[in-house]
């Protein structure tokens, strides 16, 4: 068995989600090859080569893969999967992985297994369905297993200690179907939402985008990432990439603080695997309190400044 794993990387190098996907690959077993496809992405390939337990890094450095367009990257993965007869193709269940991998699966005539949260055996996996309200154990009968991996289901693999060889690959041209026009990426000094140890999220109860500074002040004291419920994103308080939930980002930090979030099942789907959950809400009946380890009922506009001051006191 040999697994082909699509690395997630960007201007800052290899993204942390890749390390969780490596752990899933290790659980499946067999040799692991990491594919780094992009332009000027050798630094990401060098980082990938340092992950312990990687047999080989495949570097596809070509203008055709510059923006990771699915139309251009999928044929490359399909060619590699066929030529080298990989048993599994894995990617992180990020917007990048979700965009590219089903295209690969269809071209290979394989039914993808999306968003796995556990590995039972090399052909059997557990995946959440119905917003995580049920867990399905599914077995694939396809020759190649094409899988996206839910990062919160697998701990991050160590980033250092390995020294895999880097081999150049390529040989598929740009498909000419799509062009990258531009990106507006949120800039933040805070940790990435899906990789943060602590997440503090605001909901409709925040009432405005300006009020999110109350949350940001606490995030900065705790080294936390800032998230939001769908209601807060739909209302325009914060950008779309803040959204935690069934169809947004799935997070499972050590500590999740939900502020002014009632706790719709779609939001709970994105955070209920967090180790410790804190709910702050004026509505005592809010469903979030039922799953919270510590609930504090009250006016968040009073509680947040108090919390900020209390944290400032130190230990």
């Amino acid at each position: 068995m040999t697994i082909l794993l699509l690395a997630e990387h960007g201007a800052e190098g290899l993204k942390p989600a890749t390390l969780n996907t490596v752990t899933a690959a290790v659980a499946i077993g067999g040799d692991i090859h990491i594919l780094v496809a992009g332009q000027n992405c050798r630094p990401a390939a060098e980082s990938a080569a340092k992950i312990p337990g990687i047999a080989k890094v495949l570097l596809a450095d070509d203008a055709a893969y510059a923006h990771g367009m699915a139309e251009d990257v999928a044929p490359l993965i399909v060619k590699l999967a066929r030529d080298a007869s990989y048993s599994h193709v894995l990617a992180s269940a990020t917007t990048q992985g979700k965009n590219v991998l089903p295209r690969v699966a269809a071209l290979l005539d394989v039914m993808q297994i999306s968003d796995i949260a556990a590995v039972v055996s090399p052909d059997t996996f557990v995946r959440p369905i119905y917003a995580g309200n049920a867990l399905a154990t599914v077995q694939s009968k396809d020759g190649i297993k094409v899988i996206t991996v839910r990062g919160t289901g697998f701990a991050a693999a160590p980033a250092e200690g390995g020294s895999a060889a880097i081999e150049s690959v390529g040989g598929t041209a740009a498909a000419g179907l799509s062009e990258f026009v531009g990106a507006e990426l949120s800039k933040s000094e805070r940790p990435e939402l899906t990789a943060a140890r602590i997440v503090i999220s605001g909901g409709r109860g925040m009432q405005s985008g300006d009020n999110f500074h109350l949350i940001e002040a606490i995030a900065d004291k705790l080294g936390a990432a800032v998230g939001a419920s769908r209601a807060a994103v739909d209302a325009g308080f914060v950008p779309n990439d803040y959204q935690v939930g069934q169809t947004g980002k799935i997070v499972a930090p050590e500590l999740y603080i939900a502020v002014g979030i009632s706790g719709a099942i779609q939001h709970l789907a994105g955070m209920k695997d967090s180790k410790v959950i804190v709910a702050i809400n004026k509505d005592e009946e809010a469903p979030m309190f039922q799953i919270a380890d510590y609930g504090l009922v009250g006016d968040l506009f009073k509680i947040l400044p108090e919390l900020d001051a209390e944290l400032a006191k130190g230990k």
């Binding site: 139309e71 917007t95 990048q96 965009n99 991998l101 089903p102 295209r103 269809a106 071209l107 039914m111 993808q112 999306s114 968003d115 995946r127 959440p128 369905i129 119905y130 917003a131 309200n133 049920a134 867990l135 154990t137 077995q139 694939s140 009968k141 000419g176 179907l177 799509s178 062009e179 990258f180 026009v181 531009g182 990106a183 507006e184 990426l185 949120s186 602590i198 769908r230 950008p239 779309n240 990439d241 069934q246 169809t247 500590l255 099942i265 180790k275 410790v276 804190v278 309190f289 039922q290 799953i291 919270a292 380890d293 510590y294 609930g295 504090l296 009922v297 509680i303 919390l307 209390e310």
Partner: protein
């Protein structure tokens, strides 16, 4: 241009699903069913493109049991022109649905197919991408803005880091994200009118598509329940618990 919109019948998003006692799946008998919310956004976007004069016809397609016609009727009541129903009692996986849609695209020759980015039942997030692959068409997943510019479609996508804009050669596949639009409610006159709109019925056999599932569901279980519900009385108590009991800060 003609737009094809795929609509799926799913358990309503407000229903708290229950796992069946025999662990074969979730209870769907006597449960409220609705159109997948992302597909409603897809129908709305197609209608807006027609209203803007960009599209000429909107065709709503659904696959599955006879009751999927209700989902198609909902799309027709919102304003879609006609429907196509592929009747099947089998479990239809995204790959099978993509193959069925491909067969319909080859008959109908739309320039644009719009689908929801994911269905809220199986949470797969695959069908649009698979359809695009099978047709060798470009794709724009997780769309928050769609605009036709000449022979191209310019789409803004919601990605993990923020927003990304791509330009696609038509014909193309688009999958919707939440911020694309706010779907309209069907008015009573339009619900009445929808009853007279035509729905063609096909089957996987007539379309020549093998829909045999590739995945076997061995069991479906409930996730572990969280033991929550404890309250603290003050901010000071909360911080103390987080520091000294949970030890997470």
């Amino acid at each position: 241009m003609k737009i094809l919109v795929a609509v799926k019948r799913v358990v309503d998003y407000n229903v708290k699903v229950r796992v069946k006692a025999d662990k074969t799946g979730v209870e769907t008998a006597n449960v409220k069913m609705s159109m997948n919310p992302f597909d409603e956004i897809g129908v709305e976007e197609a209608l807006r493109l027609r209203e803007a004069g960009v599209a000429t016809e909107v065709v709503a397609v659904s696959m599955g049991v006879q009751q999927c016609q209700e989902t198609i009727r909902t799309a027709l009541a919102m304003g879609a022109d006609r429907g196509i129903h592929v009747l099947s009692d089998a479990v239809l996986e995204p790959l099978a649905v993509a193959k069925l849609l491909k067969a319909i695209v080859e008959k109908e020759k739309p320039e644009l197919v719009i689908l929801g980015k994911q269905a809220i039942d199986d949470d797969c997030n695959q069908t649009g991408q698979m359809l695009a692959a099978l047709l060798s068409w470009p794709q724009a997943t997780f769309a928050s803005k769609v605009k036709r510019e000449g022979e191209r479609l310019v789409v803004t996508r919601e990605v993990d880091g923020g927003l990304e804009t791509v330009s696609l050669k038509l014909p193309a596949v688009v999958t919707t994200d939440l911020r694309l639009n706010e779907p309209r409610y069907a008015s009573l006159p339009n619900i009445m009118k929808a009853k007279k709109k035509p729905i063609d019925q096909l089957t996987p056999e007539t379309l020549g598509v093998d829909v045999a599932p590739r995945l076997m569901t061995l069991k479906v279980e409930e996730p572990a329940k969280r033991q929550g519900g404890r309250k603290v009385a003050s901010v000071a108590e909360l911080v103390d618990k987080l520091r000294n009991e949970a030890r997470v800060i």
